[in-house]
């Protein structure tokens, strides 16, 4: 499966020739550290209203997909990808600012056993 990329400086999440405006940080300990993460496809939640407001898009629905670092992130925890609801910015997750549902759809059609990596770069 093709890897996804997130650029902290460009604030873009890219996957399969598509890209989304997205942000990580600046709250808490800040941006998602550069390196490689597993996108935990099997743990993708439903696209639902039954999720924290900070994870919802403009339709009032949202989702969360965990990210597991495969390198040392200095003990930081709880990373994931979700729509960037409420006040712009996250505590290190990748928050998708626009068209968050299209990222969800793209991930949801893959097999739950898919191995998808996310490369985080400057």
């Amino acid at each position: 499966m093709q890897d996804a990329t997130f650029s902290n400086s460009l604030r873009k999440l890219s996957w399969k020739n598509r890209s989304w405006d997205a942000v990580s940080g600046p709250w808490g300990k800040g941006v998602l550290p550069n390196g490689v993460y597993t996108i935990e496809r099997r743990k993708l939640t439903e696209y639902t209203t039954n999720i924290g407001n900070g994870f919802k898009d403009e339709t009032g629905k949202g989702y969360f997909i965990p990210l597991t670092p495969i390198f040392d992130v200095g003990g930081r925890t709880g990373f994931g990808i979700h729509p960037d609801g409420n006040k712009p910015g996250t505590k290190g997750c990748v928050g998708i600012r626009k068209n968050a549902y299209s990222f969800y759809s793209a991930i949801a059609v893959t097999s739950p056993s898919s191995k998808i990596l996310l490369k985080v770069v400057d």
Binding site: G54, G78, C93
Partner: protein, 176 residues
């Protein structure tokens, strides 16, 4: 007839009180379990400890925060729930990207601000600064798209916190 009604009301009230007591016990149990998983991860940040912690963080712990907020907000004598939560927050949240607890803290502040302010004011310097930042961030986060009738009053009330000015100017500088 009157006697039966009194017995019925007494039993109903006892059941409500029991169920609320059970809820309190459950909330504290989940807090303790989360703290334990966090400690295990801090001692050994293996893949399996991370998995256990993060799985719990976004399932049991996240759901439990709703109950904790309801208990604190709906009953006058449940301030200890917020006290426990603030204590847990300081121990577990500093390395976490999970934004849900920040929203719970702000929700607790919105329903009963004085107790939250008192608790934060009683913390030692670094924790006080940290919790002031979390409270302010949580407050501006949950009121971003949802204005409250008493928002200005609540915002002004927060200014009694010793590090309010420092924290708000830091956040305004970082603002996206």
């Amino acid at each position: 007839m009157i006697r039966n009604s009194i017995i019925f009301i007494f039993l109903a009230l006892s059941l409500v009180s029991c169920s609320s007591k059970n809820m309190e016990t459950d909330v504290i149990k989940v807090f303790n379990k989360y703290e334990q998983l966090n400690k295990e991860f801090e001692n050994n940040n293996s893949k399996s400890n991370r998995e256990k912690l993060e799985q719990y963080m976004y399932s049991n712990y996240a759901k439990n925060l709703d109950y904790a907020r309801s208990l604190y907000c709906d009953k006058e004598d449940r301030n200890f729930i917020a006290k426990e939560f603030i204590d847990l927050y300081i121990k577990t949240q500093k390395n976490s990207a999970n934004e849900i607890p920040m929203g719970t803290l702000a929700s607790m502040y919105i329903c009963k601000p004085d107790f939250i302010l008192k608790e934060i004011s009683s913390l030692e310097k670094n924790d006080k600064k940290y919790m002031t930042e979390e409270l302010y961030l949580g407050f501006i986060d949950i009121t971003h798209n949802k204005k409250l009738e008493n928002q200005i009053e609540l915002d002004n009330k927060m200014k009694v916190l010793e590090y309010y000015d420092e924290v708000t100017s830091k956040i305004k500088k970082l603002d996206l």
